[in-house]
């Protein structure tokens, strides 16, 4: 496709001939107001917020229905455009409840952002009657709807009709009576439903799971990768920061990656953040008693002895760096190493979009490293060391040492293991794409990552 040059408020931008203007502007960091356009859903042209002045055009034009051509001169700062956007924004707001203090979207709301940029006027709608619609409606699938906050951009309805093709949502009623609703006899019920919460540019759709939990401006964010299956969907981890006194993780949000998950993640992956906060193993435990690290490492040394036959199991959700360290350690102490993958397979989970039946984030990494992926034949084992593999009990052993993220087994010696949000590393997804995950929070309790533990573990004497 041939390249053309356009001018945006004096700045020259190069773009593909015939590209959609709003896409060119957004790709070049031009902050153009918009509600209905979304990269994953395309233009709809209903919000009329992305007004631009085009040289030679009589009236303001919407950037989401304008295609660039060579020499196009675009202005967003033109006074006429600013007035137009301000007036259209005012119309979006007249029937809006303006309940920001109790609205969960506050802080990440486009209406607020645009009001600060284009509005800043007093209401001239005084003494007029606002149109009222249903509030705090449970649509199903953890999605709450407040029809009064809605700007009717139709992103949510386009998601259910064009992307999931489940068609649960529609816009009902005409004119100022128009509102989003579930279709008669339907509830929102699909494994990707919560994506409409992120798509919603305002506070109309909020997460039943996250709402009222935390103001978003208190949260820090770290880029990571979902561990729900081996798809490797990119996520953002939103969490409290140490200065807040806690480091609770509040939510996962999808992070755009065109090669893997586009703009979306599944609800199961989104809600898997809970595992980081619940039922965590925080202390080192021997025979039901909490003990110190030095004492535990001494106990470990005694248990592995010098002649015992040792088997190590590892979790296929561990980072490549962890697996590499464990593999090295297994060789050092002459232990057998297995990462049985069959334990992670769940055919009922997979679908033809993002969800994969292999519910282990680094299954491909295990394969690439040449680690045994199934336990075949009988082994006579004295000591089993498990790095958080979910089904250690398939191996019978005299002694059992466990590194675990969550309280589950009653091993002889238990070490707390950090979750993936608590340190950084890389994962290799099913398509052999290796991706970075950043640390979001500090390891909880006495937990350390597998690679940190391995550094501390004694060799055989």
């Amino acid at each position: 496709m041939s390249k053309v040059k356009i001018t945006v408020d004096g700045r020259v931008i190069e773009a593909d001939d015939g590209a959609l203007l709003i896409e060119v502007l957004l790709a070049n960091g031009v902050d153009i107001p918009h509600f209905c356009y979304h990269e994953a859903l395309g233009p709809d042209g209903n919000c009329r917020m992305c007004m631009v002045k085009l040289q030679g055009a009589k009236r303001p034009q919407i950037a989401c229905d304008t295609f660039v051509c060579d020499g196009m001169e675009v202005s967003l700062k033109d006074p006429e455009i600013r007035t137009t956007v301000q007036r259209i924004l005012e119309l979006e707001l007249i029937n809006h409840p303006i309940d920001c203090p109790t609205c969960d979207q506050a802080g990440e709301c486009r209406l607020q952002d645009y009001y600060m940029e284009y509005g800043l006027y007093d209401s001239s709608f005084e003494n007029y009657q606002k149109i009222h619609h249903a509030k705090h409606t449970d649509l199903g699938s953890n999605v709450m709807l407040d029809q009064e906050r809605c700007v009717l951009c139709a992103r949510c309805t386009r998601f259910t009709s064009n992307i999931t093709k489940t068609n649960e949502l529609g816009i009902i009623g005409r004119g100022d009576e128009a509102h989003v609703s579930t279709m008669p006899g339907k509830t929102l019920d699909n494994p990707y439903a919560m994506n409409i919460i992120d798509l919603c540019p305002v506070g109309a759709l909020t997460s039943r799971d996250f709402r009222f939990a935390r103001r978003v401006w208190f949260l820090g964010s770290a880029p990571s990768v979902c561990h729900g299956c081996d798809r490797g969907c990119n996520i953002t981890i939103d969490h409290d920061r140490p200065k807040n006194g806690t480091e609770t993780i509040y939510r996962f949000r999808p992070r755009k990656n065109e090669r893997i998950n586009g703009h979306f993640i599944c609800d199961a992956g989104r809600l898997s953040y809970r595992e980081h906060n619940e039922n965590r193993q925080l202390q080192i435990i021997r025979e039901g008693q909490s003990i110190g690290r030095e004492e535990a490492l001494e106990a470990f040394e005694q248990m592995i002895g010098s002649q015992k036959r040792i088997m190590i199991l590892a979790d296929a959700n561990l980072y490549n760096e962890d697996l590499r360290a464990i593999k090295w350690y297994a060789k050092e102490i002459g232990a057998l190493l297995f990462v049985p993958l069959e334990s992670y397979r769940d055919e009922s989970f997979g679908d033809d979009w993002l969800r994969s039946s292999m519910r282990a984030a680094n299954a491909r990494g295990v394969e690439n490293m040449g680690i045994n992926r199934e336990v075949s034949g009988g082994y006579d084992i004295d000591v089993l060391i498990n790095f958080n593999h979910p089904t250690p009990h398939m191996i019978a052993a005299g002694e059992f040492i466990e590194f675990q993220t969550h309280q589950s087994t009653n091993a002889d010696l238990i070490f707390p293991l950090a979750m993936f949000s608590e340190y950084g590393g890389t994962l290799t997804n099913r398509d052999n794409i290796t991706q970075d995950c950043m640390q979001a929070v500090n390891p909880s309790g006495m937990s350390l990552s597998a690679q940190e533990w391995v550094k501390l573990l004694p060799r055989r004497s």
Partner: protein, 417 residues
């Protein structure tokens, strides 16, 4: 002096004019044996040369639209007749489908043949339930007589007609909203294409024309473009079924050629303003057209060019006559109430603008408004103009601006300080 011309309404006066047996003796379907054997391009050329203009309100040349339909394409083409007649002050299409439905069907057969469509739809307004029954019976009669279905009049041409009743939305008269509705979706207008192209029905090219436009086709095909052009003006050839309503002695529809004087038409057919009161204004072509004062109406002739010069539009030709009795506050409130109810709600300026305008008009009607409200109304009219997907909001804008502008004193008088 207004000539009597009856192109579309020639059989309206007959008893049982909606029955095939009546109109068969009076020329109905006579065009088929001749013209379904000739090349379809001839019909397109005749319509193009006749200068026939779309009679649904826009007044765009019909031939231009017909020529956009692809020839010999692999995908089927469709004809969709727009019978979603909802513009207040307009009731001509319903006269055609109840008083001479076979004229419409004949026009549809010729048009479908011309554009290569084997399936045609009539999208009829939801409220036209009783009229639909008459139309449906006529379609059945045409099937029975072999004018519809396979091998029409021995020509080898096939055509099926499906009548589809809308759900009662004004906006479905907008052709792209009509097609969305016909596809089973919400009747929302589509974004307009950048270049000239046909409309699309399930991805196939479709021609959307008004009932009266299609009903004019048999005359043009039978008598030729030149014959049609002897009526009307050079730029607005032919005739229109004008509707008359409001403060008028004899409301109704009366066919006349384009270019006749508006006041002469109102006197001759409508019997003048009701109760011989003074004329206050005329809404010339359905409520979406800017109002004319009595002085402007006196200068107007009934054609597209004259009304455009006066800053209004001929629209559907549905004239609403207002006598000195009319309270412009009431007129404005009535019109804006309608628009508020009928805005499809897709574009923000229209959805919220019509709603707020209506509230302001109510306040002005009650005498509770101040100058600030009036200014806001004018500002809203400006915001609604030219910033939406379809022409609904710009029409509302034009209506508000014309009424306030031309009767400003009446409005300022009732404002509170």
């Amino acid at each position: 002096m207004i000539r009597d011309v009856r192109i579309v309404s020639s059989r309206f006066g007959l008893a049982n004019s909606h029955r095939l047996s009546t109109v068969l003796m009076r020329g109905a379907y006579d065009s088929l044996p001749i013209h379904l054997k000739r090349p379809p391009e001839q019909i397109v050329r005749a319509v193009d040369e006749s200068g026939l203009r779309g009679k649904g309100g826009g007044g765009a040349p019909a031939g231009e639209k017909w020529k956009l339909m692809p020839r010999n394409s692999d995908t089927p083409s469709y004809l969709v007749v727009n019978c979603d007649e909802s513009e207040p002050g307009t009731f001509k299409d319903r006269e055609i489908i109840t008083r001479d439905p076979h004229l419409l069907i004949e026009g549809m057969i010729l048009t479908s043949y011309a554009i290569g469509a084997n399936h045609a739809y009539i999208y009829i307004r939801g409220e036209y339930k009783s009229f639909e029954l008459i139309l449906r019976r006529a379609v059945d009669e045409a099937y029975e007589a072999g004018f519809l279905g396979r091998d029409i009049a021995g020509s080898g041409f096939d055509l099926d007609i499906t009548i589809h009743r809308g759900g009662g939305a004004y906006i479905c008269g907008e052709k792209s909203a009509l097609l969305e509705s016909l596809e089973g979706k919400r009747g929302h207008p589509r974004l307009k294409p950048k270049g000239k192209e046909p409309e699309w029905y399930f991805g196939a090219p479709a021609l959307v024309n008004n009932v009266e436009t299609i009903a004019s086709v048999p005359y043009i095909v039978m008598n030729g473009a030149r014959c049609y052009r002897q009526f009307g003006t050079a730029q607005s050839p032919g005739t229109l079924l004008f509707s008359l309503s409001g403060h008028i002695e004899r409301p109704g529809i009366y066919e006349a050629e384009f270019g006749v004087s508006m006041m002469e038409y109102i006197e001759r057919f409508g019997g003048g303003v009701k109760g011989k009161k003074k004329l206050k204004g005329v809404i010339p072509g359905g409520i979406s057209t800017p109002i004319l004062t009595a002085e402007e109406a006196a200068r107007a002739t009934l054609d597209y060019e004259s009304l455009r010069t006066l800053g209004s539009s001929l629209g559907t030709g549905g004239m609403i006559v207002l006598s000195s009795e009319a309270d412009m506050h009431g007129v404005l409130k009535n019109i804006l109430g309608f628009y508020r109810h009928e805005s499809c709600g897709q574009c923000t300026p229209c959805r919220e603008g019509t709603s707020w305008s209506d509230q302001i008009a109510s306040r002005m009607l009650r005498g509770e408004a101040t100058m600030k409200d009036l200014d806001k109304l004018l500002e809203l009219a400006d915001t609604m103009n030219g910033k939406t997907i379809c022409v609904f909001a710009p029409a509302v804008s034009g209506v508000i601006l014309s009424i306030i502008d031309k009767f400003r004193d009446e409005f300022t008088e009732r404002l509170r300080p």
